[in-house]
Assembly symmetry: C2
Homo-oligomer: 173 residues x 2
DNA sequence: GCAAGATAAATTGTACACAATTTAATTGCT
DNA sequence: AGCAATTAAATTGTGTACAATTTATCTTGC
């Protein structure tokens, strides 16, 4: 009857099998990084509908948040704040400029640098963005303490991820 | 001397200012979702160097992990397992096929479906991937309990994100 | 049996991410 | 001053993500 025995449980026998509950680091990691990946994709998806009325994507919204806190800023400073490089930021900022939300101009003191500043329209958009964070927290539900704890844990993890990355480059064979 | 007073603290005064510690949901959310975004990007970056010897990207590695657990599977089943749609999976799977790690074939029972199966090479790659999760956990350091708790919290958050998303579509004005 | 609707992938178009390279400007060093 | 090394953005090329549409197949109601 089970003609569909073609579908194999491809190995993983000893790892998955008999009460592999305990603490199997191999599977644990998979799940942590995968959970991170999935949660991040979901966040982007959730914001998509909230940000559509503002004409922003989630990364664009993050850039605007950074600028609403401090502007003007150079591309490099923005990149440091958001952990993104110029390859990501340059085209993103050009799209914000095309929407007349920001201005891009060479720093007269150092022509290598490009200074990003808010236009009046960009500064004004802040009002329309105001209700969004509350809306997200509301939709997520749950108590704030839990969300705060999660944020803390993620911050600690980020530091470890950064360390893991640099030790990689430093100790080149 | 401070001629650079051009740089404004763009509003946010009361929010950022005097011991805004308490519990300001607006800023909290920003930081949680942003932390998620940053952590996910960092994970992808960390895996990049680890996976380069295998010729895989992180999403490709996730697909292979799913297949190493259960194969063959349809594109739709993979999408459900990884929370990705055919627009993302189809080109990714074609690249894996080009590397001769998987085979793609129409399901003879239902010609709409495409069945992804592992080639011998694809199944064999599992051995080379074996040490990777341990390496990641090792580099992250910290105790396993902490990482496990974080994974748990992320799982709960994902459910809330899914709920927030569906309630969005359901209750269209 | 067959047309209408439902499903599964593929395709199209837009927007990230990021490594690697290129271009332009500044710093250091002599 | 003059030139090598450094730095800041931009560019190039690859690979996701995902909404919206299209194509092909399947399922139903009649």
């Amino acid at each position: 009857m089970n003609q569909d025995s073609t579908r194999r449980e491809t190995g993983a026998g000893p790892a998955t099998g008999a009460k592999g509950e305990g603490v199997n680091p191999l599977r644990l990691d998979l799940q942590l990084c995968f959970a991170l990946y999935g949660a991040s994709n979901r966040v982007t998806r959730l914001y998509r509908s909230l940000l559509a009325p503002l004409g922003l994507t989630y990364p664009q919204y993050l850039v605007m948040l950074a600028l609403w806190e401090t502007a003007p800023r150079s591309v490099g400073e923005l990149g440091q704040a958001l952990d993104l490089d110029s390859g990501t930021l340059t085209p993103l900022l050009k799209r914000l400029e095309a929407q007349r939300l920001v201005d891009r101009a060479r720093d007269p003191r150092d022509e290598r640098r490009v200074i990003i500043s808010l236009t009046l329209k960009g500064a004004a958009l802040r009002e329309k963005a105001q209700p969004i964070p509350g809306e997200v927290v509301c939709r997520l539900g749950g108590d704030l303490g839990e969300l705060g704890a999660l944020r803390e844990a993620l911050g600690a993890l980020q530091q470890r991820l950064d360390a893991a990355q640099t030790s990689d480059k430093t100790s080149g064979s």
